[in-house]
């Protein structure tokens, strides 16, 4: 069984295609071109799969096991971890705090996805219209924002919104004449999330803008021109021509944004260190961290993480199916 079949993938025709990993027993004339082509994809995939299995698969398995155990700080340092069945899950699902965090995360995610998509699209449309010089200028600006690590960005934004010495309070006072001395931007949960949204959106717009800008170059000029001659305004052209052309790009970008924003961690975690009330501002990622590392309850934290993984996987499935469909068409 040296030519054992290890990978199977769905064939376009609906049947199953076998992908041998190693060439079978050598034929007299050596592997033909067609045969080599049949197993190459499998071989090429293998290294990536091994890395994924080690780096992502193994921790996931551990996480899954841990979520069924009583796992505290003592277990981290080697004490045996007793299995407790679904105890961690019932604890999480019956905790109103968890549901509050989940709802908060979803709302925060929606707000951020919408803001980033709208702004990103507008920037992309802008880049499509301006001349070469400004196109480069905007691209460089976007790249700089994109290249900035999230933690660094959050700390700097935190300085700007600082209660005592922040430039935002200073400017608002200078411009509006209102008293913004010692106005805390983070103490009120809503205001906290407005600041967080600014930071997250600031970091997310470049990706959206670049991707959509790349898509825009694929929209045929002639169609747009024809529409313009027929009297279609800017909004109408976007809605009826540009958007249908870019629909699949939009779907993919939105799904990616949803995934990224739902598991947002760095920005929220760093902002909580600067100010605000943790309990009222924690999102899923931060809540898992607080439960696991903060309270030392890794079992419960693991259960929340598994729930989050399930949530993410179901969203990702839509993305994967969409990309597969795209490949076929």
């Amino acid at each position: 069984m040296s030519s054992s079949v290890m990978l199977v993938r769905e064939h376009e025709s609906g049947g199953v295609q076998e992908l041998p990993l190693r060439p079978g027993p050598k034929k007299k004339r050596g592997p033909s071109r067609a045969k080599a082509g049949r197993f190459t994809p499998g071989v090429l995939l293998l290294p990536a799969l091994v890395i994924l299995a080690v780096v992502i698969g193994w921790p996931l398995v551990q996480l899954f096991v841990m979520s069924f155990q009583e796992f505290g700080r003592a277990q981290v340092f080697g004490a045996p971890a007793p299995f407790v069945g679904f105890d961690n899950y019932t604890k999480v699902l019956s905790d109103p705090q968890f549901w509050a965090v989940l709802l908060r995360s979803v709302l925060f995610c929606l707000a951020n996805v919408i803001t980033a998509m709208v702004l990103g699209t507008l920037v992309a449309l802008l880049m499509n219209r301006v001349n070469r010089f400004f196109k480069v200028l905007v691209s460089v600006g976007l790249l700089l924002a994109w290249a900035m690590p999230a933690l660094t960005a959050t700390i700097v934004w935190g300085w700007m919104f600082d209660t005592q010495y922040g430039v935002v309070n200073y400017l608002l006072e200078a411009v509006t004449g209102q008293d913004f001395t010692n106005h805390s931007w983070l103490i009120d949960p809503f205001s906290f999330f407005v600041v967080a949204t600014i930071i997250v959106t600031w970091g997310a717009v470049p990706f959206v803008a670049f991707t959509i800008f790349a898509g825009l170059t694929q929209v045929p000029e002639e169609v747009l021109e024809a529409a313009q001659l027929d009297g279609a305004g800017g909004w109408k052209r976007f809605r009826l021509i540009v958007f249908p052309y870019l629909r699949s790009i939009f779907v993919v970008v939105i799904i990616l944004q949803v995934i990224w924003d739902l598991r947002v961690f760095t920005q929220i975690f760093a902002l909580q260190g600067i100010g605000g009330i943790k309990e009222e501002t924690s999102t899923l990622g931060v809540y898992i961290y607080q439960t696991s590392l903060g309270k030392g309850d890794y079992g419960t934290g693991g259960a929340i993480a598994v729930i989050m993984v399930i949530l993410m996987v179901s969203i990702s499935l839509v993305y994967v199916r969409r990309s597969l469909k795209q490949e076929e068409s």
Binding site: G276, I277, E279
Partner: protein
């Protein structure tokens, strides 16, 4: 210096008791050591914040490397914020630091989990009964000695002499007078904190609870009961709220780091902070973290007064130092730890305003105002509940959230009841 001598005596007495208790467990296991003395390696020492002065760091590195030719010692500075999380992940990994500093109230979380190497057989060599007893207790678990005292520090009140004099006030002798002074100073100087009290600074809220007869949590049998909502604690918390809302203009959700910035800017009249903050305030104007050395003559200091005079029960802050159970060079690490507890090293700490880990070196902190106030404050200092789970309470952030809500003028009783429920849940989980 009377108080100081009394303290020393009391502390020594406690030390003897602790030593006797510990001696019982120390027997029989004092054979280890010197077997791999020839081995060389690179030792990583984790120190937290800027508390350890540069002179001490240099001394540690030079001494260790000259005593162990071929070995190196690297000091890696960690932030106090999030330390419990960081230690948990790093001490359990294969790339563990060798020697780590840990907050005295956090030590129990690690001693009880087996994260530290057992130092019971080193107890006498490190100083024995001369070591600060409260810290020996914090570093011991189940009759074994895991984390040695490193230094202790008390919270003092630094104040601007001119502001106090201008308002016609004197250094307060009771807690009530301290509060009324603060409120009066804030009213007389708009934009200035009579008492600087950022909302997340929960350590500074503890004296108000303790002075009113309250406790953080009490233990009966194996059960802990959080008692922030006891009538005594509530009385103290109401005072905290009064200070936060009427005497302080500090950010209601701010934390206690870098208080020298607003202090030097001139918007603080009274600042309750660890004794080493004096060094930050008087740092040269061109330092990396600049201070305001020109204010030296104007900078006064006193120990926070208690409800009925004398020094208040303040939080006994400080650190323990331990060897990671996963250290690749435990013998070298133990030697490095021994240097940090040597008289020379501890004297450097003492001169920098930290209370040394050894009772016999108490006099090294000198005789200036800060030293006197430190001795007074340390005499009445108290610790957080001695539960291995207490570090989890700290790390959960519940205390910070609670005092931020108090600072916003929330309903003290309702908030305290909710906090008690949360802490009970963690301590008894």
């Amino acid at each position: 210096m009377n108080t100081m001598r009394k303290t020393t005596l009391a502390v020594t007495a406690l030390g003897v008791t602790a030593a006797l208790a510990l001696a019982g467990c120390a027997g029989g296991s004092s054979s280890g050591g010197n077997t791999d003395a020839a081995a060389t390696g690179d030792i990583r020492v984790w120190l937290n914040g800027t508390d350890t002065p540069q002179a001490a760091r240099d001394y540690l590195k030079t001494t260790f490397e000259s005593e162990h030719p071929g070995s190196t010692l690297t000091i890696e500075e960690q932030a106090w914020t999030g330390l419990v999380d960081k230690l948990t992940t790093n001490l359990s990994g294969s790339d563990s630091p060798d020697v780590v500093e840990v907050g005295n109230t956090q030590a129990a979380a690690f001693t009880s989990a087996g994260a530290f190497l057992d130092l019971t057989d080193q107890y006498d060599a490190l100083g024995g009964s001369d070591l600060l007893p409260g810290f020996v207790e914090a570093g011991s678990y189940d009759g074994k000695f895991f984390a040695a005292p490193y230094y202790s520090g008390a919270r003092l009140v630094f104040y601007k002499k001119d502001l106090l004099a201008k308002a016609g006030l004197t250094v307060p002798t009771t807690l009530d007078q301290y509060i009324s002074n603060g409120v009066a100073l804030a009213a007389a100087n708009p934009g200035v904190s009579g008492i600087y009290f950022p909302g997340q600074d929960w350590y500074n809220a503890l004296p108000y609870i303790w002075e009113n007869g309250g406790e953080i949590a009490t233990q009966s049998g194996a059960t802990w009961t959080s008692s922030f909502s006891s009538p005594e604690s509530i009385a103290g918390l109401k005072q905290v709220q009064e200070v936060m809302t009427k005497a302080s203009v500090a950010p209601k959700d701010g934390n206690e780091t870098d208080p020298q910035v607003p202090f030097c800017e001139g918007v603080i009249a009274n600042l309750s902070a660890p004794s080493w903050v004096k060094g930050s305030i008087l740092a040269p104007a061109d330092a990396k973290a600049p201070g305001c050395p020109d204010q030296e003559a104007n900078l006064g200091v006193y120990a926070l007064p208690g409800k009925s005079g004398g020094a208040a029960h303040v939080f006994a802050g400080g650190s323990n130092i331990a060897v990671s159970a996963k250290s690749a060079h435990p013998e070298l690490a133990k030697d490095a730890l021994a240097i940090m507890l040597s008289d020379d090293y501890q004297t450097i700490l003492g001169k920098a305003g930290l209370v040394p880990a050894k009772v016999s070196l108490a006099s090294t902190i000198g005789t200036d105002d800060v030293a006197k106030a430190t001795a007074e404050a340390a005499a009445n200092a108290k610790l957080t509940p001695a539960s291995p789970k207490w570090a989890d309470v700290e790390a959960s952030g519940a205390l910070q959230d609670f005092f931020v809500a108090i600072g916003q003028g929330g309903d003290v009783t309702a908030l305290a009841q909710a906090l008690d429920q949360k802490i009970d849940g963690i301590l008894n989980s």
